[in-house]
């Protein structure tokens, strides 16, 4: 009996040494980035999929169980996960992943935020005090986030720190080339006016230079209303939008209605990794985003 116990305890004690660093990513893009940098040194759990509205996730028991075992939580921050993550972190009983600890990483802290509201008032809808949180759609943001993430992984797992640095370097090199290609391909999108279901594509527009001239939601987080949709169609008289964009988790009804009335294509963009069959990883995400938008131009 005693020998059994000892063996069990030894097995328990040796577990953390051999196991990969457990990463809990709130959204698919950070899960994918952690895989790019960490390779087989990390084991990544992604809490949500591209088909789920990141604003509307619930603190499900399965998420608590995963957070309990995580070494690092990679979140977007800027209040994107405010509806569930604080609760999951607090109830996880995991001291290492609490905000302020090295095991808690917020991507939004490393990029320049867009659309930071000057006035905070809920009459403006579900706005985020820190700015628009959909930062992953400007691929240039992934340099800073990736570098910081590699450093953080190294801090939590010092023996593998060089591997994380190397992982980031390889990623950054490939990423730089890919960005150059996307920018070349997406040149025709510069200056193109487009409508969007929600303020999901602010960073994408900032990067590629197209213009989001209106959103189907009257205010962020509120459902599109017939009044809002009609006024957008009426607005097509002046400076007509060339396409209407939505993510995989938003309903297609309002987009298709506008598309039918205004005679412009309704385009589903992957928004994050897994949003379309083609967006299997970070490269696929932007490949497919650019291709789908270009297709919309013709």
């Amino acid at each position: 009996m005693f020998r059994l116990m000892t063996m069990f305890l030894l097995a328990m004690a040796s577990l953390p040494a051999t196991a990969a660093l457990q990463v809990f990513a709130t959204v698919p893009e950070w899960g994918a980035l952690a895989r790019e940098i960490g390779g087989d040194k990390v084991s990544v759990f992604t809490a949500t999929t591209a088909l789920q509205d990141p604003h509307r996730i619930q603190a499900r028991p399965s998420l608590l169980a995963q957070a309990r075992r995580a070494n690092l939580v990679v979140a977007t921050g800027a209040d994107l996960e405010i509806g569930w993550l604080p609760l999951v972190l607090r109830d996880s009983g995991n001291a290492n992943i609490q905000p302020g600890r090295p095991g808690y990483f917020e991507a939004a802290r490393f990029v320049t935020m867009l659309d930071v509201p000057l006035v905070l008032d809920r009459s403006q809808g579900d706005i985020h005090a820190a700015g628009n949180p959909h930062i992953q759609l400007d691929p240039r943001n992934l340099f800073r986030i990736g570098e910081a993430l590699a450093a953080r992984l190294g801090e939590l797992d010092p023996p593998n720190a060089p591997a994380y640095q190397a992982g980031y370097k390889v990623f950054a090199e490939k990423w730089r080339t890919a960005i150059a290609r996307w920018e070349r391909e997406a040149a025709p999108l510069r200056g193109v006016p487009a409508l969007a279901h929600h303020d999901s594509f602010v960073y994408l527009a900032h990067w590629l230079g197209f213009k989001v001239t209106g959103t189907l939601e009257p205010k962020p987080g509120l459902e599109p209303t017939s009044g809002q949709l009609s006024s957008l169609v009426a607005g097509q008289q002046g400076a007509p939008a060339r396409m209407v964009l939505r993510t995989a988790y938003q309903s297609d009804g309002p987009s298709l209605w506008i598309a039918g009335k205004a005679g412009i294509p309704a385009i589903l963009l992957p928004f994050t990794v897994g949003g379309t069959p083609e967006a299997g990883d970070l490269y696929g995400l932007f490949d497919d985003t650019v291709q789908r938008m270009l297709k919309g131009l013709h």
């Binding site: 608590l64 609760l87 001291a95 802290r109 935020m113 579900d126 570098e147």
Partner: protein
């Protein structure tokens, strides 16, 4: 970086406070230190300004042809600039504050001394017409890296009640969580939820039967829970506390008046389904718990119970949303069952000298075994609209009054209620609900109840539990 200015402030303070004591040499030394700090900060600020100007300039001269690679983006700036660019939270150092506004219009039969037949007579609400419910003020935030605190004040006409006021551990680790203060016990499923998070305008009958009009067991005490390091959610918890609330009574004594144990398990089935199930046990003790009974001749009689109450609770909740995206459509099913045993003595008396059967107080053994359950389903069929059905049933079960059975009326009854509701939410922060119930919780009366209710929340809106 933030600490240094405050150090400078502290130095200034120290200078002003200890001016008389400090020698000129000390003063000169401090002055030179401050000058030095000023200089370094001016340098840093000008460096930051320069960097900002450069960034603006490079933004303006964006290459017209997108073919060019911008290596600027690839270079990450030194950490100082990142820290400076870090978005500051709107709440800064202030706690999160939110206010819940809740009110209703109620159309029901006028039943004075409303209670659930066959159960310990707790006097229930008979409020009709327009009214506001408790207005809840929620204040919470991190205390330090080790603790978090939250208080919920329920404001009513002329009183402020402390609904909850607790601290919670953040830094124990190993899955251990410690909570202390006044909190809603984690037994059952609905017990922890505040009325504004309920899916119906009122609590299930079984919660009213178990815990009286408050419909929740709130405890002053300590909660220790442990989350197992398993891929499936497994949580075990224990609580000890004052046990002042029904079915216990307040007693000024050393030690604990109540304790509880619970276990929760949960997981997902695929992307679309998730569930949680639980089993809880609550032990309370009562000393002179009073209730208004009726004697065999229909006269009012006062009864007092002293003894222990053991309550078992089983709960299950299942949520469904297509692809796990609850925004457009989702369904939630929940059901709970309880069984309770009172064991002790009952004293029947006639304080108003009505000449009832207990003119001379009569003490007897008292034991009961009662149970009940509810099941409800709520379907959100559009982003703003939800509809739900609930069915409640209780069984008065075994009520053994010993020799007092000859003095007091014991009713054998199965209270029932069927409820339907529909609600509309303009946003996550505002909701209007219409509810109809056919209530047969009082013997011989079928009460058709209509409730129109609003729930509004403003300020920081914390996450809700699963």
């Amino acid at each position: 970086m933030l600490y240094k200015p405050s150090f400078a402030m502290a130095a200034l303070l120290a200078v002003s406070c200890g001016a008389q004591a400090a020698s000129d040499a000390d003063l000169a030394a401090i002055r030179s230190q401050i000058d030095e700090m000023k200089k370094t900060y001016e340098q840093r600020i000008s460096a930051l300004e320069q960097r900002l100007a450069e960034a603006e300039a490079s933004a303006r001269t964006k290459p017209a042809t997108a073919a060019e690679v911008r290596p600027v983006a690839a270079e990450s700036p030194p950490p100082v600039a990142v820290a400076a660019a870090a978005p500051s939270s709107a709440s800064a150092f202030n706690p999160e504050v939110s206010l819940i506004l809740q009110g209703q219009y109620v159309n029901t039969k006028d039943i004075p001394n409303r209670s659930i037949t066959g159960f310990w007579p707790n006097q229930l609400d008979n409020l009709r017409g327009f009214s506001i419910n408790e207005t809840e003020l929620v204040i919470g935030g991190s205390i330090d890296p080790y603790w978090r605190g939250q208080a919920i004040f329920a404001v009513q006409d002329d009183e402020v009640g402390v609904e909850e006021a607790w601290f919670q551990s953040l830094a124990i680790g190993e899955g251990v969580g410690l909570k202390g203060g006044r909190y809603r016990s984690s037994i059952g499923y609905l017990n922890e939820q505040h009325p504004h998070a309920w899916d119906f305008a009122n609590a299930p009958l079984m919660y009213t039967a178990m815990f009286g009009p408050a419909a929740s067991f709130t405890e002053d005490g300590l909660q220790l829970k442990w989350l197992a390091p398993t891929p499936v959610f497994l949580e075990f918890g224990s609580e000890i506390g004052r046990g002042a609330n029904y079915p216990g009574t307040d007693s000024n004594k050393n030690g604990a008046g109540a304790w509880a144990l619970y276990a929760h398990a949960g997981d997902d089935f695929g992307l679309s389904n998730s569930w949680r199930a639980g089993l809880s046990y609550l032990k309370t003790s009562a000393d002179d718990r009073q209730g208004d009974f009726t004697d065999v001749n229909g006269l009012h009689a006062q009864a007092s119970f002293s003894g222990n109450t053991a309550t078992w609770l089983a709960d299950v909740v299942w949520k469904w949303a297509p692809d796990g995206n609850p925004k457009y459509q989702n369904f939630k099913f929940q059901s709970e069952y309880f069984q309770r045993r009172d064991d002790g003595s009952l004293t029947c008396s006639d304080p108003a000298a009505l000449g009832n059967a207990c003119l001379e107080p009569v003490s007897s053994n008292y034991s009961t075994r009662q149970s009940g359950w509810y099941a409800q389903g709520v379907f959100q069929f559009a982003p703003e609209w939800r509809a739900g059905l609930r069915y409640d049933q209780l069984a008065s079960g075994v009520q053994n009054l010993g020799i007092n059975a000859a003095n007091l009326v014991v009713q054998d009854y199965r209270p029932k209620r069927a409820t339907a509701m529909v609600d509309y939410s303009w946003s996550e922060f505002s909701r209007l609900r219409l509810q109809y119930a056919q209530d047969k919780s009082t013997t011989g009366i079928t009460d058709n109840q209509w409730i129109v209710q609003y729930i509004m929340s403003l300020g920081a809106h914390g996450a809700h539990k699963f």
